[in-house]
């Protein structure tokens, strides 16, 4: 599945230790703080942010925690994932593309 709501990916562990690789979330701008120069649908929702880094303290999912990012910044946010993994894939078989190769090889053969 490519359409993945990342916040719904269940972490196996609910608590992180200092030094664990984790993801945090925070709101950058609430909907009312957004610039006027954007489409209406975007105006209605907050600008959100997710960052990964190493936990500098213990924490539980849903709690505030500070991380140190790979660029050595200390950032505070809500702990959303512990040991976050990438789940994007090459995708399932695409029927709409599957015969193109054969069609073109046939055309090349007939053309010669």
């Amino acid at each position: 599945m490519c359409t993945q709501i990342y916040s719904e990916v269940i972490s196996v562990t609910k608590e992180c230790k200092k030094g664990d690789w984790v993801e945090i979330h925070y709101i950058v701008l609430e909907a009312r703080e957004r610039t006027g120069d954007i489409p209406e649908d975007t105006q209605k929702v907050p600008l959100e942010c997710w960052i990964k880094g190493w936990a500098v303290e213990e924490g539980s999912l849903g709690e505030k925690i500070t991380i140190e990012t790979p660029a050595h910044r200390h950032v505070e946010g809500t702990l959303t994932r512990i040991n976050p993994e990438y789940t994007h894939t090459f995708g399932p078989y695409a029927r709409e593309l599957s015969t193109i190769g054969e069609e073109l090889r046939k055309a090349l053969k007939e053309g010669n």
Binding site: T3, T42, L97
Partner: protein, 472 residues
Amino acid sequence: MARDTSYDAVMERRAEIMSKALGLDYDEFVISDIAFDYEGMMERAGYSLEEVRKIQAEAGVGNTPLLELRNITDLVRQTSKKGYGARILVKDEAANPSGSFKDRRASVSIYHAKKLGYPGVLAATSGNYVAAVASQAARKNLGVLTLQEVFDSRHVGQPEIIEKSRKCEAYGAEVVQLTVGPELFYVSLILLEETGYFNASLYSPFGISGVETLGYELIEQVRSKYGKDPAYVVVTHAGGGNVTGTARGVLKAGAKATKIIGASVDLSGLHMASDNDFNKKSFTTGHTGFGVPFATWPDRTDVPKNAARPLRYLDRYVTVTQGEVFYVTEALAQVEGLERGPAGNTSLAAAIALARELPEDEIVVVQETEYTGAGKHPWAQLDFAKQNGIIVKRGDPKENVPGKNIVIPEDFSQISITEMDLNRMRRSYIRNAVERNKVEIVTEKDIQFLAEDTKTVAEFVISILRDLGVNL
């Protein structure tokens, strides 16, 4: 005392932050509100072709192979009138360290940042450029912070962009993932101020001079193998840097008759800053949603004067559909043995239609490929489209409606281009230059600049200015 990071306060400081983060004073190139010394900026602020070649050789960038697509050329000739169907060559830019031509752009920016003593670099984009910056920064032991627009408000992200986040992390970068919105720029200003990093902007003279080698190399390669210049160089067009850098390189190689043709995926009707539309497109770059606004108003970016100015160089600008690009991506893998793209194959789709216009002895160069990976793959992208309510089917690409369907051609002969009206875009640019700079009277110097910036002549600019009711 902590700095005020409210939106208004940060935007108020934008000029100061940007100037510090680029180490470049644009004021010395300013001639008037409209005109500036573009060539002077490229010469004095950027790097010469020779310098760039040296920087890139050390960075492991460039000198990519130029491959002849024999089977695709055969298929073009089968679907052209007799004696027509130019030879199609492709510059295999996926052979660069991070898998795209963007390494050329990043290598020069990172070299410059290191030379000026910045502790790290920041890149704000969801395209291949972030991966290129992360890769090049890793080679130079510089810190790297990347900023990407990844998710809609449901927290659903394009597989192609998720892959770009992964790649950046693989190179040791910090990845800041945001939901949709132009305020990404505001966040980038906060981060530049906080870290003191170099702004590895896509639009600085350093980045653009890095792409010149691509145009220069391909002309050298075509000449040495085929003893002539290509009739067309087809360039996937988004923000304008690919077109600008490549065209400058082609010109520096002296290929004056070679036409520069920009190609974008048609995403007309989809708003790039819309939360709803964000995941209704399968292409996150190389599309008209960037191609048109960046050509008609280049100075909308994160630098005071954009070094990427596509209308200065474009001879033609054409569009293709998402379905056609997926089709040629499959064709490239199946009959040429090159699994690349998909987004980078936009120019290949256009080149197939363009090659049919030319006699068999002419040459058309597709100037880039890009890496393929999980998420950045036709199956992943078509699956994502279907899950976001897009109809995917084989059929006539003319039925294409961006955001509603993806029509994969039923036959190779159906691949075609739609010509964009460049004069209309030039007019739109000239209007923007006057209105956005709040200019009351346009001088002779402005007219000369606008003519150069639109690849036209003074008479053309004057007629449009008169039409717009501007005082001359």
